[in-house]
């Protein structure tokens, strides 16, 4: 997230599990790039997974989604 924020010239808010993704300072393009990067590195794209209906609201939701996908 820090790298993407720097690349996209965004100011990142202090990150915490409760912080809403929309308040991180990352816009939807940044989050899209993050999702693509995680897919490349981890081979995981839970947001595109069939049957997955959860959409992460907070940073914690986002992390849990990937943790669940990895197990």
């Amino acid at each position: 997230m820090v790298t993407i924020a720097q690349q996209q010239k965004k100011t990142l808010a202090p990150l915490s599990d409760d912080l809403a993704l929309l308040d991180t300072g990352l816009d939807s393009l940044c989050i899209a790039i993050l999702v693509a990067g995680l897919d490349d590195e981890l081979g995981l794209d839970p947001l595109s997974a069939p049957g997955e209906r959860r959409f992460p609201v907070t940073v914690g939701d986002f992390i849990r989604l990937y943790e669940d996908a990895a197990t």
Binding site: Q7, Q8, S28, L29, I31, A32, I33, V35, A36, G37, D40, D45, L47, S48
Partner: protein, 461 residues
């Protein structure tokens, strides 16, 4: 006032003078134009074809060229069928084209000895009309799916762009295009009517072999799409030809390819033409700069009339096709005779630049990206020979911009640091483009697929 007698293509060729130097050649044979006698090469003779709608469907280009030369003025309509048209596509094409005769490979004699024997009999010329018919020339647009659109031209609309005083009998033309497509047919007609010779490309012939063949035959004028030329540069065989004239058309021309071709052929005139099957040839620019000067919009007739409306290029000229076959509700031109090319242009510094195709636009979370404008930036990188930008599915924005790039082979893959190149490409895109247009992924690939039309095979197609 009586209309002047319609001249056939054979008349036009003969008028220009047929010196012993001139020829038409493919990978198998070379035929002198002086003794060509295209009509004499119709094994069944001209009579059965008179007034008919004839589908010319051959594997090789040379028989197709000979048939077209023979049948102009004889047939009511000729349909030049490109080699990639499938049997399944043929049925509606035959129906729309009201085809009542088909010419195939076996109907055309490309053997010189047999043609000579045929000429002794002369029966092939029986049934030739006293006055040339105004034959319709039907070209197939390079559709990527479904049935190709059938575009109707006349010999006049096809030859209007050629003008007068085109070169001499030392000019040897060649094109990477198939001559059954608009871009290729233009070059064939330029060669035939412009006093030159013509070398045809051949199906799966490797680019390096084609360039060798052209070099041996002393080619002077060569045309192709930017993708064709990039493949030529990738082949490592571009040094086998020394053209005085290099022409690009059929796709957006970026500064990178113009610079590379100038570097490769410093003494050649490098021209890029705007043309499409429907609009015909609109203009050619030879100042080695991408885009075209805005002053072209003010050029008086007979130059093509150009307008920019709703961001797209519109053209009206004597080269425009008249209609589509089988699509009575779909007009080629608007009420004022202008053809909407669908090519989006932007004015910058007194010059219009192509930024993409209206139907090829990527939608990044509601923001539009033309693949071609990103490719134009990527192609400026000195290590990039060719690129293809497309949308990669993404659950947040729908798609994200992704680029495949082919790197310059001369660098050597082992010695080259792909990571640095990728980083430089992305950095260049960040400098030149707004963030959502910057590729998120850059993949190094060994080749980029090119359609039979010579254009990059785009994934949205």
């Amino acid at each position: 006032m009586p209309q002047p007698r319609r001249q056939s293509l054979r008349d036009l060729i003969a008028q220009r003078g047929i010196s012993a130097r001139r020829f038409i050649a493919d990978v198998h044979t070379s035929l002198p134009l002086a003794t060509l006698d295209a009509v004499g090469r119709l094994r069944g003779g001209a009579a059965p074809m008179q007034g008919r709608s004839v589908l010319i469907r051959t594997r090789r280009q040379l028989p197709a060229a000979l048939a077209a030369i023979a049948l102009d003025g004889v047939a009511r309509r000729i349909l030049l069928c490109p080699p990639d048209v499938t049997d399944g596509q043929l049925q509606p094409i035959m129906q729309y084209g009201e085809v009542d005769a088909v010419v195939t490979e076996s109907d055309i004699c490309t053997d010189e000895a047999e043609a000579c024997a045929g000429r002794m009999q002369g029966i092939e010329h029986l049934g030739m009309p006293e006055t040339a018919l105004d034959t319709e020339w039907v070209l197939f647009t390079s559709g990527t799916s479904g049935i190709p659109k059938l575009v109707v031209h006349s010999l006049t609309s096809l030859t209007t762009p050629l003008g007068d005083g085109l070169g001499d009998d030392r000019d040897v033309w060649a094109t990477f295009y198939d001559i059954r497509r608009y871009g290729g047919l233009q070059i064939l007609l330029r060669a035939l009517i412009g006093r030159g010779s013509m070398i045809l490309s051949h199906g799966d012939e490797p680019v390096a072999s084609f360039l060798s063949r052209l070099g041996t035959a002393g080619v002077t004028h060569v045309s192709g799409t930017p993708s064709h030329w990039r493949r030529a540069l990738m082949s490592g065989a571009v040094g086998r030809i020394r053209p005085v004239y290099v022409r690009l058309s059929g796709e957006m021309v970026d500064q990178g390819i113009l610079d590379r071709l100038h570097q490769t052929y410093p003494n050649a005139m490098i021209a890029h033409a705007f043309a499409s099957s429907e609009a015909g040839v609109a203009f050619a620019v030879s100042d080695r700069l991408a885009g075209f000067p805005a002053s072209i919009l003010c050029a008086p007739p007979p130059a093509a009339q150009i307008r920019i409306e709703q961001g797209t290029l519109r053209i009206r000229s004597g080269c425009t096709a008249t209609r589509y076959l089988g699509m009575p509700d779909r007009a080629i031109a608007d009420g004022s005779g202008f053809v909407d090319t669908g090519d989006i242009v932007e004015l910058s510094g007194g010059r219009y630049h192509f930024v993409g195709r209206r139907e090829g636009v990527l939608n990044i979370g509601g923001l539009k990206v033309h693949p071609e404008e990103v490719e134009a930036v990527i192609n400026q990188h000195s290590n990039v020979l060719m690129s293809c930008v497309y949308g990669c599915p993404n659950p947040i924005t729908g798609v994200l911009v992704t680029a495949d790039v082919v790197l310059h082979r001369l660098l050597g893959e082992k010695s080259h640091d792909f990571a640095i190149t990728k980083s430089e490409i992305i950095s260049a895109c960040r400098d030149a483009l707004v963030p959502y247009k910057v590729p998120v992924r850059v993949n190094v690939v060994s080749d980029i697929s090119v359609l039979p039309s010579g254009k990059v095979a785009r994934r949205h197609a």
